[in-house]
Amino acid sequence: MSKSRAAVLNIAKYTMADVARQKSFLVILAVSVLFVFLARGCYHGNYMVNGRELEAAAVVGMVSKMTFQVIAALAMMVAALLSMRVFKRDRDEGMQACIFSKPITRRQYLFGKVFGLWLLSSFLMFALHAAVFVTVLLELHAAVPSYLGASLLCTVNLLFAVISVCFFSLMMPDVAAFLLSMGIGVTSFLMDGVFAISYSPMARAMMKGWGIPEELTGWKIVYYLWPKIFGSQRFAAMFIHGERPGCDEMYPFLNIVIWCVAAGALLLWRFRKEEIS
């Protein structure tokens, strides 16, 4: 193994070990396990609409999809929470000085930190998704292997959360960095909603009535360029029931990949200026 790769892996290993023993991580883990345990109940009940019992397969499909989305969103929050103090902790506990007095570059350090945080949060999300997968398998004797594949696709959102929080935490208090990253996620969700609504016949009629032009070019540019966290999650969820995504559905995923690269480059540029103490 090359020295560079060994350094990155070592730093990733230390990051995971240090974060996983934090009380906050253990609390998050306990809450997540409780959530999955409670979600189990959804697979036991009978669902009635207008006095007619719903088909179990349809209910299971819907519940599994919803659980998938909730877990993916929670995991993103967890990734952001775990990332927000990672530099500050290393600085306060003397690990940065220790690491950078060795022949380790800032790039190797950053890669190790981001990789460790991403791996840990991805593992947590995958474990929770796997718990739902096993529940469906045991309760309903139905295996949905694409559920786990979709979970892996969602890890790109976690990478974005980790990188963005790390980047913001270099310029503002940790909590503000967390809130700003979450704000990007929430805005992405709201924008998707507003965009979908704006294409409904009713909304179009209203816009016409108010004299608002139908093609809002500036707004569309912002919409398409904004990190499409929710869209990327929806893209991953499509695989659960074997839906074939088109180019429109694939775009959010590519958008997040590009954002990860751009945010990573910004993080590297900003961290190069950082004073080590």
């Binding site: 350094a7 023993r21 306060d92 506990e93 000085a97 220790c98 022949p103 080590i276």
Partner: protein
């Protein structure tokens, strides 16, 4: 604010060099620039001919920070092992090296306790231990005796003397002039970011004087 201005000096291989100066003189800034912790706005620093901006310049450097800190949940032993891993030292060799270092810094029996239970002096010893991992050719020590009791100071001095005899280059930042006089053979005095003098300690100290007298004479002008 200018912390260091027009400072230029070199330290030869095998030298024991002390960088002296009052508080705020720019000693720690020089050390930080040497390790690329702080980028200089102008000028260059090299270690073994390699620019300090390149990580390779730190390949054979050991560093002890002023007020050394160790993650509180780590044991001293794990901390040393991490340092060895970061230098790509093979596992069995790392264990053997760490065992020797623990012995050298006089921390046998306490190496498996968590750092949160260590006193300031013990942290400083493990910090020195971490600097010794990988048998560095150059040891950069920023106030190595800070927080140590007189016995600890003497033990650190003995370790440094031993390293000096083995040919390790020592770069020492310290206020403890009596210790500097015993350990180092060269010294530089800086004040308000400017280099006042750099010479052999034997040349700086006149008969009947101490290094403290020399230091005060230069700093007070």
């Amino acid at each position: 604010m200018v912390a260091v201005d027009h400072v230029s000096f070199s330290v030869q291989r095998g030298e024991s060099f002390a960088l002296l100066g009052p508080n705020g003189a720019g000693k720690t800034t020089i050390v930080k620039m040497l390790l690329d912790f702080t980028p200089p706005t102008a000028g260059t620093l090299t270690i073994n001919g390699i620019s300090s901006k390149q990580a390779a310049s730190r390949a054979s450097v050991g560093y002890l920070a002023e007020n050394c800190r160790i993650p509180p949940h780590l044991t001293g032993w794990r901390y040393l092992l991490r340092c060895a891993e970061l230098l790509n030292i093979r596992n069995d060799e790392a264990v053997e090296q760490c065992r020797r270092i623990v012995e050298k810094i006089g921390m046998q029996g306490r190496e498996h306790a968590e750092a949160s239970t260590y006193s300031k002096g013990m942290l400083q010893r493990f910090g020195l231990g971490a600097a010794l991992v990988g048998n560095p050719q150059l040891l950069i020590l920023d106030e190595p005796t800070a927080g140590l009791d007189p016995i600890g100071i003497r033990e650190i001095r003995q370790i440094l003397e031993e390293l000096k005899n083995q040919g390790t280059t020592i770069f020492l930042n310290s206020h403890w002039l009596s210790e500097v006089e015993k350990i180092c053979d060269h010294a530089a005095i800086i004040h308000r970011g400017r280099l006042l003098v750099k010479d052999k300690i034997s040349s700086l100290v006149r008969e009947g004087d101490t290094l403290e007298d020399v230091f005060i004479r230069y700093v007070k002008g």
